[in-house]
Every structure is written in C-alpha cells, then in structure tokens.
Symmetry: C2
Subunit: 504 residues, 2 copies
C-alpha cells in the first residue's frame, strides 16, 4: 500500500512536471506565432529543440517503468475509469508507445518531417510535385515502419490513427466515413444543381478590423470563453493553445473584406478553448486532465462554430448586435440573406476554405489516399493523379495544378499520417453531441436565440470535458448519446439546414 | 591541449544552455508582465519556481569545478581580457560565489524575500512600517550573514555591492557619491530659490496614447533600436528584458495626460535595449556576451534618456515631429518652453518620479542608510526617522507618512541590498561617457540636432557593449575616457543645462 502511494506520488510528480515543461514549450510556440520579433527565429528554434529533447528524455525515463510496475496491481484499477486507473493506463500506454519506437526511427522521422516541410514549401511554390516526391516516399516508408514497430491488429493504418484518435480502428472509421460520403456526394450534387444562390457579396463588404475583434470577443465571451483565463491574439495560421490550467490562448487573423474568416475562426478556436478550460484544473498535467483525442477536440470547436454559430437561433440573438458593430456593411441587410450567405455550400479546391458540407469530402479523399499509401496500394508517384480523380468523383472539381491540389496541405510532408480523419470525426461527434444535448435540454434553439449558452456548455463539460482520458472517445459518445458514432446526425443537421435554403 | 579544448567546449556548452534556460525564464516573466491572463498567475509562479530551481542546479553543478580546474592553466589566460580568459574567470567567479553560500542561507533569503515583499505590500497599503519591520530585521541579518559567507576586504557592504557592480568597493563609491552630494545639494537649493518656473502644464495636455506609442517607437527606432530584433509593449512597471541574441523586449505605460512618463521611459528602456542588442550575438550566453554590471547597464539607459533625450539638440530634431504627432497639445508651444518643462528640477518625495538632478539625492540617501544597516550602525527600528532626517537635510522635504517615505521602494523587502547605488553610478558613467564621446566625435550636438545617432551608438558599441565582461566597469571607464570615474562630468552636464534655464 505504502509502495503504491509512493509510486503513484512519484509518477504523478514526474508526469505533472513533464506537462509543465510542455506548457513552457507552448508559450515558446505561442510567442513565436504572435509577438516574437522577426529576427529572433533561429534562437527560438534552438530553445524549442532543446525543450523537446528534454521532454523526450522525461517521457522515456526508465523510472516510469519501475513506478508502473509497482502500480500494476493497484486496487483502484478495478474501476478502469477511475482517476488512478486512468493515470496508470494512459501513462503506460504512452510510455510503451515511446519505447517501441527505435531511437533511429524517431530521429529519422524528426529529420524527414523538417526536410519534408522545407521541400514542400518549394514544391508548392514551384507547383512541382517532383520536388516533394522523394521526401514523401521516404516518409511513407518510415510511417509504415512505425506502424510495424508499434503494432496493430488489422490494418497498419490503425497504428498511426491511434496517435491522434486512441482506440479508433481503420475499419470502423472507414465504414462511418463511407456512409457519410454516400450521403454527402448526392447532397452536394443537388446543391450544385439548385437554382438558389446565396448573396455572399454581403460578407465581402468592409468589416473594420477593430469592430471584428470586438464582435468576435463579444461572441467568444458569450459562449463562455473566460478572458480572465485566456486571450485572443492575431496570427497567420490560427490556433488554440494552453499553457496552464487557467491559461488558454486563441488566435485569429482578420480580413477587412471578409466577415466569415475571423468570426467563425474565433468561434472555432473558442470552442477548442472551452474544452481546454472545461477540464478539471486540479487534474492539469495528468491524463485525467488531458484532451482525449483530436477528434473530440475538433468536435468542440466544430459544434460551436457550426451547430451553434451557423444556426438561425444564434443570429436571432447576434444579428442585431452585428448590425450595431457593422452599420455600414449590415445596416440594410436582412437576417435571412445573411444567414443564407454564411451557409453557402460550394465545391472548391482548398480544404481550409471549404464549407461545412463539402469539407468532409476533402477529408474523405485524404483519408482514402493515405490509407492506400500506407498499405502499399498506391505509390507516391501516382498520388497526384489519384488526388485529381477523387476530387472529380466526389466534388466535381479538378485542380488545375498540384499546388492547389495534392500540395495544398502540410500534413503529409510533416509526417502526419492518420491525422486527417480526426477532422471529420470531429464533425460527426459534434452533430451527435448537439442532437443529444438538444434533446436533453428540451430544445437548444430557444436557449440560443436568447443568448443563453451556459446550459449547452455545462452539458458538454458534464458529458465530455471533465473526464479527460477516463473514457475513450467511443465510450464518451456511447455514454453521452447512448449510441455508437453514426453519420446520421451530421446528415440530418446538414439536410435540415440546407434543404430549405437551397429548396432541395 | 586536447584536455583544455574539451573542458572549454563542455564548460561553454553548459554555460550556454544555462543561459538558454534563463532566456526561457525571461519569456515567462515578460509574458507574465504583458499579456498573461489574470488568473494564470499561480501556475506561472510554479513554472518560474521550477525553472529557477533548475537554474540553481546548473549553476552549482559539480562538473563546473572539474572543467574550471582543467582550464586553470589555459595559456589564453596570459591575456586576462581575452575571450577565453574572461570566460574562465567569470564562470569561476560566479561558481565560487554560489558555492560559498550555504544552501540554508540561499533558501532563507529566497523565502524572506517573498514574505518580505508580501509584508511590504501590506505595510505600504496600511502606512504601517511596523508590519514590515520584523521581516526587514530578518533580511538585514541574512544579508550580513551573506556578506560574511562571501567575504570582503574592507566593508561587509562590499560583498553585497559586488553582486550588482562587480569589483566596485564601498569606499570608492562612498567617496564619489559624497563628492556628488556636496555639489548637488547646493545646486538643488539654488534651483529652489530661483524665480524661474518651467511651464510644466504643457506636459499635462492631452497626449493620445496611440500617438504617444507611434512617437515613442519613432524615437526608439531613430536612436537605433531595431524593431526586427525587439518589441515595445505595455506593462505596469516598465522594464527591458532579453530572451535571445536577437530578441530584446522593452515596455512602457501610457498616461494620456502626461507626456514625459512614456516618452522618456521608452528612451530609457531603449537605451538598455541598445546595450542588449549591441553586444556580440555570437557570444550570447557566455560572460563575453553578458552585461558587465547594473551600473553600466543603467548608464546606457540614462545616457539616451537624459544626455540625449533631454538635450536642446535632440528637440531641434524631434520637436517639429512632436508637433505633427500632437498638434492639439503642442501646436502653439515654443520649443524653449517645452525644453524647460521637460527639464524641471523640483525636490520631491518619490524616487521613481524624481528629475535628473534630485534623483541622485534619493539614491545617496538609500546608499548611506543601507550601509549603516549592514554594518550595524543603524537599527531597522530607527530607519523611518533616519530616512526622514536625510530627506530634510538633502532635499528639503519631509515625507508626511512612511508610505511615501521609507516604504516606497520594493528593494529592501526583496532583499536587494547594494543595488541602489548602481542607479547613481549609471548616471555618473553616462555623463562621463557622453562627455568623452562628444570630444571624440567632434561635437555630438550638431549630429543629434540632425537626427544622426549612429555615430554615438557606434562609439558606445565599440567602447563598451562589445566587450561583455572582458573588462570590469572601472576598466571600461578608464579605457573609454582615460580617467577614473568622477562626479565632475555629471555636475558639468547638470550645471551646463540648468544654470541658463534657472538663471543661476
């Protein structure tokens, strides 16, 4: 018993300190992307490299194995969802994974992910996939090696997916996303053929930056983002990061001639932030206080951005306030027109600019292609053609060049394989959670239309945030919604909103 | 030889990594004082405490002793000012000092400096010196113990002064500051009796914050502060910090109804920043790339703030620009009136608000009192009375209460003894450097009046910045000005400017 207590205390202290070092690294990264002077970059890279090396040392510290051995028969493990059981299970999971990877592979992956990204920048600039190809071939080979080293039951892709969506299997995700695709493709096709066109020019009037910032902060605060525990700053590629139990920083960028990018970006990042700030502060740094998966994280951002932020109810409350903030741009605009404009669906080439409906098709394409690369069914050399074929088939558009096609994302050059599907999983989780919360809370539309967001946030905190990693994503979905993950709530959400707008 | 090379490489790597950790700590501190969300404080304190503990471990690492032993007979030490000799000497100096302090004393000082500051906040708020007294008594006892542990030749205060102004002795500083005092007291007295009064109301018109920021940045950039290697942000208590060879952050605060605080504050901090950015970047983290003393650091800020920024020549260049930035406040103001206003001399109670002439009397009072405390000539209980007596004698004013008297500064409650005189040493160095540069460059006034600051900055870089710790402060002064430090240049500077203004 004393042995258990001591081992748990030592392990917890080690894990919390490691998280503290991660939080310091987060500040180094946040500052680099917001305020750091231009010429400070090279030294900042040295700082981050050194901290990363210290982190790797801490995560592979041999004492972890000793503590974990001492804790293997801890009585609290009888309940696998208890805080102690979760701590032991998740620390072991991470430690085992780190230790299964040969040092040489870790280093090669780190090196190729840097050179791969550098090659990608050039390849994209010169619209020349050939410049990326040799790097990508090496990276794919290394990721296959990683999958073999870590091990998997059915599909080598399982091992990679597990880094981002623990316990998810390729087969299940494939099944769900195939079902989603088979509904989405005809829906998008029907919208293409619709005679209705949203008055999107409304969104391209002049929206002064300072008013955008004020309005964005107002909305973020309204949904529950606590500016005493967080900030909003400007960056090139928006992100959300945390660096302490009460320190969450979201970022955005402003386009004076486009309303949507900053506003929905802020709601999106604030959604991530609500998840960060909604977990138990006293568990900060422990698996019990950690986000459970990228898919669940994305569900929280997407829910606030789309299910809430792109709803009629939301604008019943916010449109009068928007008119006050942007009298020149919106003074004479009707709410219905504005609502249609922010819900435009239009197949396009670039994932990060895609709308709520077509976005998932961009993801499904990448998911299918990366599986094929990992399993060896597709050669890197054939990737551009395969990319273009799928864009034609699923979205009805064909990239005019590789820069706007296969070269648009940084993920593969950065050795991130298994990451893409978490975006769509996030959309699916979001729809299923929202539908359930709507039912549990007796109609969210009326609450939201009165600007009352607290009940929804509390529902999310109670059902998801507070558990950290105590439950797997699949378990959280089952517990919160009494059903396994399905494509149906998302399709219902999209059809319910888009059918009337496009008169389908 | 190989042994020397290896030991030097290992020692250098260790020292540079320690500086890297310091630079990370600087970011944690800078962020805390600029952008950190309100409720993030407690976790930030934990981060900083942990990093500080790691720093202490690195600085007392036993391997340092081994490397230093291996390097004791390094041939480069034949020239004590060479980079290698400087590295060996200064690392040894720091290591020996750290190791002379018993661990218990280090911990007690750390603890009492924290509780002392907390008690000080209360004591100041309640205007009750009694609440600080027991803490201050303990701190004085600990500082005396520190002086005994570290050792000294003549005066126990030497050992404390050495922390901030290496190699300076109490006797020398006492001599110089006494001479300064004997000239300053009658000068200030004469100004008090002068019939001339500066039109200071000019400085209290409306100066919009955004224009102040723009004008301050313009001036900082003009004197050579490189905004590609630095930033200016807002804080409560302005400071300058560096976190890399090309990353120096200065801060200020704006008062819309007082021109001077932000503007001269920015020049002051930019002066510190020019010293940070003027040292050799490739020596960053080594003693050869480090600031040599607080007094020399302060001389760089004071020189740009006072010798440059409060000169007629400076405003010949900048007054037309100021009129453009602040047309409402300065449109009809004459340059001579503005110049007199920014050079007002008026005895007052609060050090940080004092003018260029009386400031040094505030410092001399503190210097004399803290020496007496350390040597045991003055009891903490008698400090408030002694404080008030000296204010009456040197400045002709008496604090109406301790909050505006002996309780105004954080230094003593924070266990900083030996720190105060570096402020006045800075003023003395600044005047002596400026006088010499004026001579060497054939008249600075004409350069400055044309907005040409580069020759002066280059002179400072060549004579001071680039040496890091290769020379002691006294050696730098001797080399740069061919004279030991004297109070005369500062008195000449003050008299030269103030006598015509006040018609003395």
């Amino acid at each position: 018993m004393a042995n258990h207590d001591q081992a748990l205390a030592q392990l917890s202290d080690h894990v919390r300190k490691t998280a503290m070092l991660e939080s310091i690294n987060s500040l180094l990264n946040w500052d680099e992307r917001t305020y750091m002077p231009e010429l400070a970059g090279p030294y900042r890279a040295e700082q981050i490299t050194w901290v990363s090396a210290m982190l790797h040392e801490r995560k592979t510290d041999a004492r972890l194995a000793d503590w974990l051995n001492d804790l293997a028969d801890h009585p609290a493990c009888a309940d696998p969802h208890s805080d102690i059981a979760t701590t032991i299970r998740e620390v072991r999971r991470e430690f085992d994974k780190q230790n299964k990877l040969p040092q040489r592979l870790v280093e090669e992956l780190a090196r190729y992910s840097v050179t791969g990204q550098q090659a990608w920048v050039e390849a994209r600039r010169d619209n020349d996939f050939g410049k990326l190809r040799p790097f990508l071939e090496k990276i794919v080979a290394l990721k296959r090696e990683q999958a073999e080293a870590v091990g998997y039951k059915q599909h080598p892709y399982d091992a990679l997916l597990d880094d981002y969506e623990p316990n998810a299997t390729t087969a299940e995700v494939k099944q769900t996303l195939s079902e989603l695709r088979s509904e989405l493709v005809p829906l998008v096709q029907a919208i293409r053929e619709s005679k209705q066109t949203p008055p999107v020019e409304i969104l391209h009037a002049l929206y002064p930056t300072s008013a955008q910032e004020e309005f964005g902060k107002q909305a973020a605060a309204a949904i529950g983002f606590d500016f005493h525990r967080g900030r909003l700053d400007v960056t090139h590629h928006p992100f959300c990061t945390e660096m302490g139990p009460h320190d969450c920083r979201i970022t955005t960028r402003y386009d004076e001639h486009f309303f949507s990018s900053a506003f929905f970006g802020i709601l999106h990042e604030a959604g991530h932030g609500l998840y960060e700030l909604g977990r138990r502060p006293e568990e900060y740094g422990m698996p019990t206080g950690q986000y459970v998966s990228l898919g669940i994280h994305e569900s929280q951002s997407r829910l606030w951005e789309n299910q809430v932020g792109r709803s009629q109810a939301f604008w019943q409350h916010f449109f009068p306030l928007a008119k006050q903030q942007f009298p020149a741009a919106l003074g004479k605009v009707k709410q219905d027109d504005f609502f249609f404009a922010i819900n435009e669906v239009k197949p396009s080439l670039i994932r990060v600019e895609a709308d709520e409906a077509t976005y998932n098709l961009h993801i499904i394409i990448r998911f299918e292609l990366e599986q094929a690369l990992i399993v060896g069914d597709l050669a890197v050399a054939d990737l551009p053609q395969a990319w273009n074929d799928k864009y034609r088939e699923y979205l009805g558009v064909v990239p005019p060049n590789d820069a706007d096609g296969v070269l648009q994302d940084i993920h593969w050059p950065a050795a991130l394989f298994g990451y893409f599907p978490t975006y769509s999983l996030g959309n699916l989780y979001a729809a299923q959670f929202f539908e359930q919360a709507d039912q549990d809370l007796g109609g969210l539309a009326s609450l939201i239309s009165r600007g009352e967001f607290a009940p929804l946030l509390k529902w999310l905190q109670d059902k998801i945030h507070r558990y950290g990693r105590c439950f797997s994503p699949a378990e959280l979905v089952e517990r919160a919604t009494a059903k396994p993950l399905s494509h149906e709530p998302l399709i219902r959400h999209l059809r319910g909103k888009l059918a009337p707008l496009y008169q389908l």
